[in-house]
Amino acid sequence: MNSNEKEKVREFLTGLMGARGDHGPIEDSQSIFVSGRLDSLAITNLVLFLETEFGVSFADTAFDIDLIDSIAAIEEFVTRVRV
């Protein structure tokens, strides 16, 4: 995942949070879902975004929220499943 793609993810998450009245910054390692900043509806939005934007599939992955709980985790996951 290159830096442009990472910024796309950040932009998308900022949009989701902004729509919920959370305009705070998102650090790379900061928890997004477990911390309660976003709910399960937002998980589906993020999954659809990652599937469409990066062509990744969660179908064969034992899903765990930790896989996408931070920008760093998303970066690691997308990089891993693309290989």
């Binding site: 729509a19 928890s31 709910d39 509806l41 998980i43 999954v47 599939s57 969660f58 179908a59």
Partner: protein, 465 residues
């Protein structure tokens, strides 16, 4: 005192656990305890307490269900205790070595677990009456494991991302047999989730304990409020009923009104449905605050189970705030596997994909959870009774799923657009959420009412009957 300064003072008192002077006072006076209660010691204490809970469950719970099949005395209780612990240890070993398990178990560990539990139910049903000890043993095991199903499920999940607890099986005992209390729903989920909120330093522990003390105090206040509410609304016999001299609003309890079908005056019927919502929220909040309060005092500063659901402005927001750990259970074991698993087949139909996942969790998952809770009926082999008892909950779950899906879609369509913040619009939205949940509770409330009686009661509220 101006209204502004009064609000500020009230907020300061309400948030006392976050005030630095209070935290400093706590650290100063309890420094010996905070320093002694290291994460390792806290976990060890909770694990020892868990063993005691397991012991009590094997003796008291089996006696309490009072089914002839599970009346077997001390020998049965001891063998069930050892077998349950053995089963849990075996599940832990599987979770550690899941990647090397055969494909069906590796890919579907949760389904494998539930199939195993149902196999034990089958053995209890099929065991011969001539060999009562064997039949009693399987019935008792089915009872014990069905109550542990979701906790064992969280244990199996811990293997997914190689995050198996470093403390090993001992740490898993903490939530398998929680000394902090709970139901079949694991409050605080599993050790992986709890570890994310675990206090690492003495200062963290002080903050966690203070927020726990706050929840315990809130729990007490809510319990008293609930007792007052029940006395004032329904005339329930308690301390407040005597204080009120036996006077009450005379509102019928929803369970009784629904069982009666028609005949309840419309105004009282509507009062009954709204009062039931308030009662359920108060009950769940006081119980949940107590459990989470103990967990926080123990050093796990996890999320609350209930957080101001009566202020929710949408159905799915209410569901998030009302019973957080049950919602998390449905999301973890049903919603996510269905949503993720259908990614290939339904990639081009995101709305259908969301609908199926919501239906799978809020309707099917909800029903299955409650069906498994009927273990007392199930161990007796009365599957038909258990299925019949699911008629009204099935309808309730279906309505809930539809409500959540529509609410989620409305949220998505709105995007970044903000809802009107004027008090009237906000009040109407909150009233709409109250009305939705109050009405669907008609098919969920206890009291033994039949499906047709509940439906008749619902129709009578609108003057149709």
């Amino acid at each position: 005192m101006t209204p502004g300064s009064f609000r500020l003072a009230a907020r300061k008192i309400g948030q006392f656990h976050e005030q630095q002077p209070v935290i400093d006072w706590w650290c100063r006076n309890l420094h010996w305890l905070l320093n002694w209660m290291t994460p390792g010691r806290r976990r060890a204490l909770l694990a020892i307490a868990a063993l005691y809970v397991a012991f009590r469950s094997s003796f008291d719970d089996l006696a309490a269900i009072a089914a002839p099949q599970v009346d077997g005395g001390v020998l049965l209780s001891v063998s069930v205790l050892l077998s349950t612990l053995g089963f849990a240890w075996f599940a832990h070993r599987i979770s550690v070595r899941l990647k090397s398990m055969p494909r069906p178990q590796r890919q579907h560990p949760q389904i494998s677990l539930h199939l195993l539990i149902w196999a034990i139910f089958c053995m209890a049903w099929l065991a011969s009456d001539d060999f009562l000890p064997g039949r009693n043993y399987f019935a008792a095991m089915a009872f014990m494991l069905s109550t542990l199903a979701w906790r064992l499920g969280y244990m199996l999940f811990s293997s997914h991302s190689s995050r198996v607890s470093p403390g090993g099986f001992k740490d898993h005992l903490i939530y398998l047999f929680p000394a902090y209390g709970g139901t079949e729903t694991p409050y605080g989920k599993g050790i992986d989730y709890m570890a994310k909120f675990e206090a690492r330093t003495a200062m963290d522990l002080a903050r966690s304990q203070l927020s726990g003390v706050k929840l315990i105090l809130l729990s007490g206040i809510l319990n008293v409020t609930l007792a007052f509410f029940e006395a004032a609304a329904y005339g329930t016999d308690n301390f407040f009923a005597r204080l009120l001299g036996g006077h009450s609003l005379g509102i019928p309890e929803l369970g009784e009104a629904a069982a009666q079908g028609v005949g309840t005056p419309t105004v009282l019927g509507w009062a009954s449905v709204y009062c039931e919502l308030i009662r359920q929220v108060l009950h769940l909040a006081y119980k949940g605050h107590r459990i989470i309060g103990i967990l926080r005092i123990s050093g796990f500063n996890v999320m609350r189970n209930t957080y101001k659901p009566l202020l929710a402005e949408s159905v799915h927001d209410f569901w998030n705030r009302y019973y957080f750990y049950f919602k998390e259970l449905l999301v973890t074991f049903f919603f996510m596997p269905i949503f993720m698993g259908s990614g290939v087949a339904l990639r081009h139909w995101p709305r259908l994909r969301l609908f199926i996942a919501v239906l799978g969790a809020a309707a099917f998952g909800n029903i299955y959870y409650h069906f498994l809770k009927l273990h007392t009926t199930l161990v007796e082999g009365h599957v038909d009774h258990a299925l019949a008892a699911m008629e009204s909950p099935f309808f309730y779950s279906l309505l809930l799923a539809l409500g959540i899906y529509i609410s989620m879609r409305r949220r998505e369509r709105r995007g970044a657009g903000k809802l009107s913040s004027d008090p009237l619009s906000r009040g109407l939205r909150i009233f709409g959420v109250w009305t939705f949940f109050s009405l669907i509770f008609i098919w969920d409330v206890r009291g033994g009412a039949s499906f047709s009686a509940r439906t008749s009661f619902f129709l009578s509220l609108f003057g149709f009957l």
